[in-house]
Symmetry: C2
Subunit: 318 residues, 2 copies
Amino acid sequence: MPEAQLAERLMAGETRALARAIRMVEDRDPAIADLLRLVRERAGRARVVGVTGPPGSGKSTLCDQVIERWRAEGHLVGVIAVDPSSPFTGGAILGDRVRMVRHTLDPGVFIRSMAARGHLGGLAAAAREAIRLIDASGRDRCLLETVGVGQSELEVMETADTTVVVTTPVTGDAVQIIKAGILEIADIFVVNKADLPGASKVVRDLKELVRHGKLRTEWSPPVLTTVAETGEGVDDLVAAIERHGDAIAASGELERRRIARLRAEVEAIVVERAAERARSALHEGRMSRELEGDLSRVDPYALAERILNGNSRELTEQ
Amino acid sequence: MPEAQLAERLMAGETRALARAIRMVEDRDPAIADLLRLVRERAGRARVVGVTGPPGSGKSTLCDQVIERWRAEGHLVGVIAVDPSSPFTGGAILGDRVRMVRHTLDPGVFIRSMAARGHLGGLAAAAREAIRLIDASGRDRCLLETVGVGQSELEVMETADTTVVVTTPVTGDAVQIIKAGILEIADIFVVNKADLPGASKVVRDLKELVRHGKLRTEWSPPVLTTVAETGEGVDDLVAAIERHGDAIAASGELERRRIARLRAEVEAIVVERAAERARSALHEGRMSRELEGDLSRVDPYALAERILNGNSRELTEQ
């Protein structure tokens, strides 16, 4: 399908066109640049909500509940479950996500699990493009779910308008949250499994943390409690998400975040194209011959500089 | 300290100089390029052994035992414990590594835990540079330990000459290993905690896997059993590591791996410098003004192309 046609179907909200476009993002199809350009002016309306937290905190069940509320309010929903592709935990994470699958029968909900295979800009860059596509397809609420296992997940969260950090009486440790830089990205804290012993202590600790921590905006992150299994507290969470969205739109923070996101996007593309240039120079071009012979004489920094500043002739000539 | 002096001390084997140089790698000190150039011709002699496996598989204890054997044989040892900086598991991983600490009293063992803060080329690039420094400092055995939690750890392992994949009767699941692409990188399998029930089944499964899997070289990965706590089986592991090192040196595979590593190194530097260029163009340069106004009119791909091919004047002019 030519890009123009795909773009049109996508903007008409067709699920299959959206699924196909997101697969193009994952596969690093070169045509994705054109497609994103074609749909760009339709994007920018969806609210993007990131949900992160340690494995076992009940994120998926919570997302499931939030989706249900959004659907009841008539929103169209897109969900990207970011898969960190852990070699050792892959199975468990996928299993966890099966909980959201019941919504796949609802055409108003688009759910996609996404890995960052081959995307040098990383998960964050892939997620950003997927969100743009979901946004352009007319879905006005977008959930971005990650398992918090590293720096790349923090970066993914930075692509959201509103970030929800989920913890539990079992996994919630305020010290960990400070250390990990999570306080800086959290717009809303949720203590899930709040029916377990110790919940009120976690709430207290988090409130203390918010009170004394350095916040990135005037918005002071509320600390909510939920029991995702029963739906308890989910209405308040949905309301807090809307409130945060309104607050940052009014204060200009939304605009600032979107500019920051655009910058990050451009940077990710620069990085990816530079890497492609390096690969082609080092594998096929004339420079590949310099990697023969005495390797200790090769200065990788000097070679890198030449690739970055080289004209295409030097780079590709064989 | 000027780089020339630091390089000299490092090549004389001074621990403090090595520690300082590795800190420069972590901090992305711009002087690291010069330092690496100065010490480059001294590197290339160390055998680099990567050890990976799921949390709780006893990797650190096993490394501890291998270090002890190497020291008894008179080798000088460098250890890089790669820290994936997980926001949620940071504490546990550090705790685990305390087991190796007893060797820090031995001047013949250099141990450093390393994070990839700010290193865009990622953990793998940082580890590669650290290894080069350790190598140049005259340490002839280098251990690279990672917790297997994602793609970046697989990349780290690709920087090793010999990769040891540790599993246990509890954590070892052949299916996971196939899915994760671990078979492709493993040169030696170790079933640790082999005194636990189920060990022989894991060994059988792994042998089956090796027999039917697609191997990357003629070397067929042996499946060894160890009980790291008691040292059982460690002598065999150390012997297998030496055997693998000799085999790949003889077959030319070592040379191929080192060229691949150099390529990856150059690519990582290109990527990092391209990202720096993008950041400065988008934050200070003339292009930053294009990120004002109607964002939907900005084409990130076109902007990226201009940054990548732009002359320095267009990029930095305000």
